[in-house]
Assembly symmetry: C2
C-alpha cells in the first residue's frame, strides 16, 4: 500500500494523488488516503501544496505543460495528408498512453466546479483549445475558420480519450488487450476516421480485422 521512498516526498504526494483522483475523483479522495499511499504525514500535504486543492492545481498545470509540448512544431509541406494527420494523432495517443491517469484526472475534473481553480482551468483550457485548433487547421482547412477547427480538434482529443475511459468495458466486451499492437491499430483507425471518415475506413479493405 505504501509508496516507494526513493522519490522526494512532494513527488510521492503528487503521484499518489493522481492515482486516487483518477480512481475515485478529486472530491472522493481524502487527504489521509493520499498521505498513506504516499507514505507521508498528513501535514506534509498542506506543507508542500497548501492544502488539497493545491494538489489539484499542480495536477492541472502538469497535464497542460506536458501536453502542449508533444507536437512537433511544423507540418511538413511535402508529406501526405495521412502522414500529417498521423503527426497529430500519434503524439496524442502516445502521450495519453504514457500519462493515462494524469490525463483522465484533468479531463474529468475540468467541467466540475472547484472554486479556487476556476481561473487556472479557464486559462489553460482556452490555450489547449487554440493549440488543437491550430494543429487541425494545418491539414488543409481554412485557418480563418478557427471555430470549426477547434470543434474538430476537441472532437479528436475526446475520441481518443474515450478509448481510455472505456478501457475496462472495451477490454471485457471485445476481448481486446491494450498492447503495442492495439495502439498501432488505434492510431491507424483514428487517423483514417478523422481524415477520411467512415467511408474512408470502409474503402480501405486492406486493413485486417481485429
Amino acid at each position: 500500500m505504501a509508496a516507494k521512498n526513493h522519490k522526494e516526498p512532494k513527488q510521492r504526494i503528487l503521484d499518489a494523488a493522481i492515482n486516487l483522483f483518477a480512481q475515485k475523483g478529486f472530491a472522493a479522495a481524502g487527504v489521509r488516503e493520499i498521505a498513506k499511499k504516499a507514505d507521508v504525514n498528513i501535514a506534509m500535504i498542506s506543507y508542500y501544496f497548501n492544502g488539497k486543492v493545491g494538489i489539484m492545481k499542480a495536477v492541472i498545470k502538469e497535464f497542460f505543460d506536458q501536453f502542449l509540448e508533444i507536437f512537433s512544431e511544423i507540418n511538413e509541406k511535402n508529406k501526405s495528408p495521412e502522414e500529417n494527420m498521423r503527426l497529430i494523432t500519434r503524439p496524442i495517443i502516445n502521450f495519453i498512453r504514457s500519462n493515462t491517469k494524469l490525463a483522465m484526472v484533468t479531463y474529468n475534473e475540468l467541467p466540475l466546479d472547484i472554486p479556487e481553480i476556476t481561473e487556472l482551468k479557464a486559462e489553460r483550457t482556452s490555450f489547449f483549445l487554440k493549440k488543437m485548433s491550430s494543429r487541425i487547421s494545418g491539414l488543409g482547412l481554412d485557418p480563418k475558420d478557427a471555430f470549426r477547427t477547434a470543434v474538430i480538434g476537441t472532437s479528436l482529443f475526446s475520441a481518443i480519450m474515450m478509448q481510455f475511459r472505456f478501457r475496462p468495458v472495451i477490454e471485457r466486451v471485445y476481448k481486446v488487450k491494450y498492447d503495442d499492437a492495439y495502439y498501432k491499430w488505434l492510431e491507424d483507425t483514428i487517423t483514417t476516421l478523422f481524415l477520411n471518415g467512415i467511408q474512408g475506413i470502409a474503402a480501405g479493405k486492406k486493413k485486417q480485422v481485429r
Copy 2:
C-alpha cells in the same frame, strides 16, 4: 434557491441532484444541499432513494433508459450515406441538448469508482457500447468487425459530448451562442466529419463559415 413544489418530492430530489452532480460532481454534492434545493427534508433522500448513492443509481438508469430509445430502429436502404449518418448524429445531439446535465453527470461519473454501483455501470455501459457499435455498422462497415465499429461509435458520442463539456470555454473564446443555428451547424459538421473526415469538410466549400 428552493425548487418548484408542483412536482412530486421524489422527482424534485432527482432534479436537484442532477443539477448539483453536474455542477460539482457526485462526491462533492452534499445531501443537505440537495435536500435544500429540492425543498425537501434530508430524511426524504434515504426514504425515497435509500441514501445518496441511490440517487446516482437512479440517474444512471434514467440516462441509459432514455438514451437507448432515441434511435429510429432501421437504417433505410434507399437513403444516402449522409442521410443515414445524420440519422445517428441528429438524435444524439438533440438528446444531449435536451438532457445536458443528465448526460454530463453520467459521462463524468462512469469511469469513477463508486463501489455500490460498479455492476450497474458495467452492465449498462456494455449495452451502450453494443448499441453504438451496431448503429455504426449499418453505415457500410463489416458487421462482423464489432470492435472497430464500437471504437468509432464511442468516438462519435464522445466527440459530441465534448462540445457540451467545453461549452463555457468555447462560447467565450469563439464568441459563439449555443442556439438553434449552432446545433444545426454542429449536426452538419459532425456528420461530415465522421462520414468523410477532415478532407470531406475541406472539400465541401459550400458550407458557410461561422
